[in-house]
Amino acid sequence: MAGKSLITIKGVKDGLVFLLDDKCGFHELIQELKAMLDKHEQQFAGPIVHVDVKLGSRQIGKREESLLRKTFRRQGNLVVRSIRSDVPDHKDADPARELCRMSGIVRSGQTVECRGSLLLIGDVNPGGIVRTTGDIYVLGALRGIAHAGCEGDERAIIAASLMKPMQLRIAGVVSRPPEEWASEDPWMEYAYLEEGTMKVDKLSRLSRFRKDVMQFKGV
């Protein structure tokens, strides 16, 4: 394992705190944890020690949690007292990042609103509005108005197969193409905020702006 270790251990008054990296793959993390526990077997031996696990911004499900607990159990005297993520569940992870899927055409005068992010398979016609608290992905032509991050999330993005919007809004920023930017390019694009200004880029470059949209790691 090159570079910085994925796991940092801190001693506190009544036990140990394990700070786990939140950017790497979960499987990788478990392997590293196993290796570390095996390596320091001697140091950890002794009386019962309480362990607090901090996951950073990583969110885990039940299966991952039990795997994590099982790994700690290899070392008889380590008792996991808590497993915590930094991000409170309700604020960021739950509704705002949830993807709602929809298909059909949003026609003039129609409004689609949802909490979280929206995957729309179909077009948004001129005069149609889509509004979400998270991101907007349009698999089709975006010719109407799209408002992403409508509760103030400036990291939200708007992506479309064909970007010909009447207006784009992200959080509180409104942009009117083609006065402010024009795109004649045939590839899929996404709009994002950079220091309060709307920018448009090729969708394939999304991973540079937002690392957490899709966590795909090549095998």
């Binding site: 055409i105 026609r107 003039s108 005068g109 077009d123 016609n125 001129p126 032509a141």
Partner: protein, 264 residues
């Protein structure tokens, strides 16, 4: 049991009434029994376009309020025996009739006719709700303008939420030379945005204006391009497969000769 078709558009002035008159007449030309119903209460026009205004005694509101029987309000066309018109009232307005009353009238017409053509007023308010109440199918008329396409899109959205479902589209008043030069929306561009089935395209034609002022539907004049377009649309309505009309300007003598030889 006949079929009730509402002709609507959202925007005014795109040719709903002209389309209703011509499709009604074209269907009668094909031997169908047709009744046209004008639901544009307060601004009736269909009778004028058909040249039947001087024959009106009772109207749609009279039928709805029980002042006359349904067949008393039906005006027989002067050209066809199987073509009838129920005119709108000129002195009332859209709120004087309810969608249920229109539905009842249309439903009592359907057993006696092959087609009931309902001419819808502009707008999406009460008049629109009245007109679509009794219809089984809808035809949306638009012209190649951004504003008309926008309104057609709105109306399609509204129709999709009702019992009628997705309507069919007629693009009216196309000027081929403006489309060619890129100054007018093309048929493909409109179909891409609206994403509904295209029933037909009608070129802009002076004959339509001449015919309307004479109180005679264009479709009676077989040499007009718009007339051929309306006849084709009528044939598609009754289920025939007719290819879309070519929009190119009139071909010269040589072109016609080539066409005659089956080369064009």
């Amino acid at each position: 049991m006949g079929e009730a078709i509402v002709i609507t558009s959202g925007k005014g002035g795109v040719g709903k009434t002209t389309t209703s008159a011509n499709l009604g007449t074209a269907l009668a030309l094909l031997g169908k029994k047709v009744c046209m119903v004008d639901t544009d209460i307060g601004l009736r026009n269909l009778d004028v376009v058909m040249g039947l205004e001087n024959r009106i005694i009772y109207d749609l509101i009279d039928v709805a309020e029980g002042r006359c029987r349904l067949n008393q309000a039906m005006i027989k066309d002067k050209r066809f025996d199987d073509l009838y018109l129920i005119p709108a009232a000129q002195t009332k307005d859209k709120n004087d009739i309810t969608p249920e009353q229109v539905r009842n009238i249309v439903n009592s017409l359907k057993p006696d006719f092959d087609y009931v053509i309902i001419d819808c007023p502009a707008g999406i308010e009460q008049g629109f709700r009245n007109a679509i109440a009794g219809a089984d199918k809808a035809i949306v008329v638009t012209t190649p303008d951004n504003s008309a396409v926008r309104d057609a899109d709105r109306v399609i959205g509204l129709l999709e939420k009702t019992h009628i479902g997705t309507p069919k589209l007629i693009i009216n008043r196309i000027r081929p030379h403006l489309v060619k030069s890129g100054d007018m929306l093309s048929v493909d561009e409109i179909c891409q945005v609206l994403a509904v089935d295209l029933l037909g395209i009608v070129p802009d034609d002076e004959h339509v204006i001449k015919a309307a002022s004479a109180g005679e539907p264009t479709v009676m004049n077989p040499s007009s391009r718009a007339s051929i377009a309306y006849r084709n649309i009528a044939r598609r309505i009754i289920g025939e497969t007719v290819p879309l009309q070519q929009l190119n300007e009139k071909t010269g003598v040589f072109g016609r000769f080539k066409k005659f030889l089956g080369m064009g």
